[in-house]
Every structure is written in C-alpha cells, then in structure tokens.
C-alpha cells in the first residue's frame, strides 16, 4: 500500500487543511491557499475520468447482453477502484484522517463473478455515487477556488486588451471574488473532502461503530490477558511458595519424630526447613513483584524503572520525565512493557547498552526503550504482542523499529491528558 515517508505521512497524500486566519495577509497564507487551490483544481480535473466511467457504466448495462458489456464492466470496476483510491487519498490527507480502503473482493475470479460480487456490494454503490458526485457537485465545489482566484486577472487582462464598460464592471466585481477566494478556499476544500468521506461512509456513526469494535476487541484481549496472568500467578504460588512451605512442614514433622532416635538427622532436617522458609519468602517476593512491584507502589513509574535498570546486567540509561499523576493501571502497564522490552534486550539482542527515555507530550505519554543489540526483534513475538495487548486497553500503541544488526527501539505511547489546566 502506502510507504512511510520522512514526516510519517503516507506518500501521495496532500498535507491537511488547517484553519487559516483571514488576517494578516502574508506569504504563508498566500502559499497555503495557492496549494489548496491547486489540490482543488486537481480534484476537479478528476471529473473527466468520472464522466467517462459513468458513461461506460451506463452503456455496459445494455451491452452486457453481448459479451463486450462485460469487458466494459471490468473497466468500470477497476477504473472506479482507482479513481476512488485517488479521491480517498486526497480526502484522507486533507482531513488528516485514516479512511480505510475496502478493496474489491473476488480478485482473480471470472469477470462475470467479479462484476456480480461488485454489484451486490453496497460499498461499491457508494463508490459509484462518489464518482457521480465528482463529475457534478463535487466538480462545482472544487472548481470554485480556481475560478475565484482567476476571476480578477482574467477580467483585468480582458479589460486591458479589449477595453469597454462591460469589462470594467466585471473587473470591479472580480475584486470581492478575490476576497472570497481568500476567505473561502480552505472551507471549500474542506467541505469537498468531508463530502467525499461522507459519501464513502466515513460518517460519525461509522467511526463510532469502528471504535466500538476496536474497544470490544481490546477488552476481550485484556480479559484473556488478565485470565492468563491470574493463571500464571496461581501456578507460581502453587509450584513455589506453597510447595516449599508444605515441604518445610514435612521436614519439621519428620524432625519432630526423629528428635529422640536420631538427633543429628533431625537437626539436618530442621536446617533444610529453615532454608526452605527463606526460599518460600523469596518466591513470594517474586510473585508480588510480578503482580505489583513494590518500587512502583513506593516510587512511581520513574523510580520503579530506575530500580529495574539497576537489577539488569549492563548499563541502562534512564531519562524519564513523566507526569506524576498517571493513572495507576497505565503506570503498571508501562512498567511491565518497559520491563519486557529490557528483558528482551538482555535475553535476545545481546545488548551491551540500553536506554529508557520518556516524556509527556501534548495528549500522550511516550516512552522509548532502546538497545544497541543485534536487532531483528519480531513485533509479533509473544512478549511484544503481550505488551501491545496490554497497552491497547488504554488505546496505547507499540511501535518496534529493529533492523537486522540493530539498534532496536520500541516506542510505547499511551494517550494522556493532563488534569492540570
């Protein structure tokens, strides 16, 4: 599909429409309006393929009786897909939103089946409606900025070459057109993009439905994750502390029995029992660390990550400037995410140096965990996938950059809004 380019925007997308103040009239404002006018004119020009597709679609119906209609139908199917893709890319760029593609299903099927599937798919009718809009009202909307802009120079040129009262009057009238261009262009471009998106079905309710689907998915994953965590804790207790304490009981019980007959053996059993209690406590501590690390409870995320860094082999540079009032579950999720990334760096990457950097940015908290190891980390590996699942519950994301040969950086982001004004 689209590749990521420098600033992270997919290629081919125009930059978003931003609110442009009418004053002052400066170079930046002029350039931006000229850019929007150019985009709108380009969009207007798409009316031509739009007309052609519509005419083809109409003639394909009667001609489908003889074979050639099918071939025209195929041109309509693929032409519409291409045109809609271009329009979608433009609208997505201008609105700075993701408008998901719904590719035509049934590629590689016979033409008849492909067209039949296409006709039955309501999304395709929306796309055809967009093609029709592009050739009509959309054209009117998109041609306006260029028309308003060119009104003054065209009439003024005609006035200079031709003279006469009609051209003078029109030239005078063209002045407010230029003002209208100045004020209206951003609106016109935005309205066109919104209309395209709406025709394609990216309405508020559609977005909400998609959001609900996503929330349901992350919730289900979180429940799975919690259940797995609870099972793990139960197993850890059962195999660790519980078993050790039971063994201590056995040793002490046997020692009691042997006290009189074989005091040396009894003493040995008691020594084992004492060591057993130490191990049992160690096990309990490690289970507690896995549930809610004491350092996190005592010193917050920054302190807990610093404590974690100290416990790892190899130097870890921690530069965290995080807000103190992150919600506890978010802190916990970030802590375990960082712990998992650092453990991966030690275990798999053979890293000699690691770093954790984090800061609150407007609207989000971002933490980057990096190492100088051999790279090639698999974002779908169970550890990183678990991290992603856990963060997804808070609408957080995990981005892994790990070229072969390293270095690896994992960027953890969680939306967050300061409660302070």
């Amino acid at each position: 599909m689209v590749d990521d380019v420098g600033d992270g925007r997919p290629s081919g997308r125009p930059a978003p429409v931003v609110a442009l103040p009418s004053f002052p009239v400066d170079t930046r404002g002029v350039l931006e309006r000229l850019r929007l006018t150019a985009v709108a004119t380009g969009t207007a020009a798409l009316a031509v393929p739009g007309w052609i597709l519509l005419i083809l679609a109409i003639i394909a119906v009667p001609l489908s009786v003889i074979g050639i209609g099918l071939w025209i139908g195929l041109i309509v199917v693929h032409g519409t897909a291409t045109l809609v893709h271009v329009l979608r890319t433009i609208a997505a760029g201008l609105l700075d939103a993701d408008l998901p593609e719904y590719p035509v299903e049934g590629q590689g099927r016979s033409p008849v089946r492909l067209i039949a599937a296409w006709v039955r798919d309501p999304l395709r009718w929306r796309e055809l409606a967009l093609v029709a809009f592009t050739g009509t009202f959309g054209l009117a909307l998109s041609v306006l900025p260029a028309g308003l802009l060119l009104s003054l120079p065209v009439h003024a040129t005609l006035l200079l070459t031709d003279g006469g009262p009609v051209w003078s009057a029109l030239t005078v009238l063209a002045v407010p057109m230029t003002a209208l261009w100045w004020v209206g262009t951003p609106w016109l471009v935005r309205v066109r993009a919104l209309a395209d998106a709406a025709i394609l079905g990216h309405s508020q309710s559609r977005r909400l439905a998609e959001r609900v689907a996503e929330v349901e998915k992350t919730r289900a994953e979180l429940i799975d994750h919690s259940a797995a965590e609870v099972r793990r804790i139960e197993r850890d207790l059962h195999d660790g502390a519980q078993a050790r304490i039971a063994a201590v009981g056995m040793n002490v019980g046997l020692a009691e029995r042997l006290m009189k007959i074989d005091p040396d053996a009894a003493a040995e059993l008691l020594r084992e029992a004492r060591e057993g209690t130490v191990s049992a406590l160690e096990d309990l501590r490690s289970v507690v660390r896995g549930i809610h690390p004491p350092a996190l409870a005592d010193r917050g995320l920054t302190g807990a990550v610093e404590a974690l860094a100290l416990s790892l082999p190899g130097p870890v540079t921690v530069t965290l400037r995080l807000p103190g009032q992150l919600p506890a579950p978010v802190e916990s999720a970030l802590y375990f995410a960082v712990a998992e990334c650092l453990a991966n760096a030690v275990k798999h990457a053979g890293a000699t140096r690691m770093w954790v950097a984090g800061a609150a940015e407007p609207g989000r908290v971002s933490v980057v965990v990096g190492d100088d190891g051999r790279g090639g980390a698999d974002p779908r590996g169970s550890g990183l996938a678990g991290v992603a699942r856990r963060l997804a519950a808070f609408d957080g994301t995990v981005a892994v950059a790990s070229p072969a040969g390293g270095p690896t950086t994992v960027t953890l982001e969680v939306p967050w809004h300061s409660s302070e004004p």
Binding site: H238, Q242, A243, A246, A247, M250, G253, L254, R257, L258
Partner: protein, 218 residues
C-alpha cells in the same frame, strides 16, 4: 504384618523427597516415586504396592491428572487403596473419589503431612481399607447442608465431622475426651436423626455418613 509398600506420584522434587523420607522413617517401603501422569499410569498398572499416594496435579497439564489416574486405576482394580494429596481440597473431587462407594480412599491437604504420625496413620488406615478425609473436605461437605444437620447437637456434629474424617470410635473418644460409650451413644443418635441404617463396622459407617453428606444436598 508384612512391610507396607507405597507408590508415590508427586512432581515437585522437594515434596517427593519429603514424602519418601517420612514413609521410610516408619518402615514403609517406597516401591516407586513417579513425577508425571504417563509414568504414573504405568506404575499403577503394576501390582507391586499396597497404597498409592498421589498428587492431584501432575504434568503434563497440571490439572487433575492424579485424580483421573486414581479413578481409572480403581475402575480396573476396585477398592485399590489410594491416598490423594493436594495443596487445596475440593469437596467435588472428594465426591468423584467416593463415587464408587468402595472406600479405601484418602483425600488430604499436603499440610497434613507435617503431622507425621497422623499422616502415617492415615496411610495405614487407607491401606487397610479405611476412608480418611481432610477436615476441610468434611467441612465443605457439611456447609449448606439441609435441615437434618441443624437438628444435631454441637457435640454430635463434632462426632460426625470426626467420623467423616475416618476416625474410629476410640480415636473420637480420645479426641473429644469422652468415653467410648458416650461416642457410641452420639453415633446412634446421629444415625437416627439422619435416618441412616446402623452399619456394622467403622468403614461402612463412614461410607454411609459420606454417602449421605454427598448425596443429600447435591
């Protein structure tokens, strides 16, 4: 009396060693100490032990392998003495074990092994055809019982609990510091109140009580 032979199934080395030592300290021979369900099935198929001491959870799935193995072995060899050990007890599992009504069953928390004498007595009792249930299991079976248990006096309920654990009249009388005659009287009263037929011997009596506990409330 011939030397008692025991089979142990326990996946955790610490506990396996502990159990073996305790049994050996009392002159019980440990013929085998296995660690997982597959070897346990093979060991149970051999007829070289008098009592099997099984952990409920064993590899590979760490769920109820020990319990399943016990049930299957007892289907092949009815009344095979089995003492099941676990880190937590489930009255439901007790029901599975008691379902065949054959007795020769023990079901204890691993905690109880620390009372070495009590544990060894339980092992011998199960090997001899008795039934020994953990007080926790009995308490689980006794909770939410319908009315008849409410009609018992506190002392009768104590006797019932001890009886369900598999204790003999003598043991109950020693435990409660009353005469054996008084225990017999309590037991007769319990059987009357619960409308149970009088049973001739200890084991049958325990089984009758357990069957009642198990069946009445579902």
């Amino acid at each position: 009396m011939a030397q008692l032979r025991a089979l142990i199934a326990e996946d955790q080395a610490l506990l396996r060693v502990g159990l073996t030592r305790i049994l050996q300290s009392d002159g019980i021979e440990v013929v085998d100490a296995v660690q997982d369900a597959a070897t346990l099935a093979a060991a149970l198929a051999k007829d070289d032990f008098d009592v099997a001491i099984l952990d409920v959870r064993l590899p590979p799935t760490f769920t109820t392998e020990g319990l399943t193995a016990a049930t299957m072995a007892r289907a092949a060899r009815p009344a095979l003495p089995v003492l099941v050990l676990s880190q937590h007890v489930e009255p439901l599992y007790a029901r599975d074990l008691l379902a065949d009504g054959q007795g020769c069953i023990g079901y204890l928390l691993k905690d109880r092994v620390a009372d070495v004498d009590g544990f060894l007595a339980a092992v011998r009792q199960v090997a001899a055809g008795g039934t020994v249930l953990d007080p926790e299991v009995v308490a689980g079976l006794l909770t939410n019982r319908p009315d008849p248990v409410d009609r018992l006096t506190d002392r009768e309920r104590e006797v019932l609990t001890l009886m369900a654990q598999g204790r003999s009249n003598a043991a109950i009388s020693a435990r409660l510091h009353v005469s054996e005659g008084a225990v017999t009287k309590h037991i007769n009263s319990i059987f009357t109140k619960l409308d149970l037929p009088q049973a001739p011997d200890d084991n049958r009596r325990v089984l009758a009580v357990l069957a009642w506990l198990d069946g009445a409330g579902g």
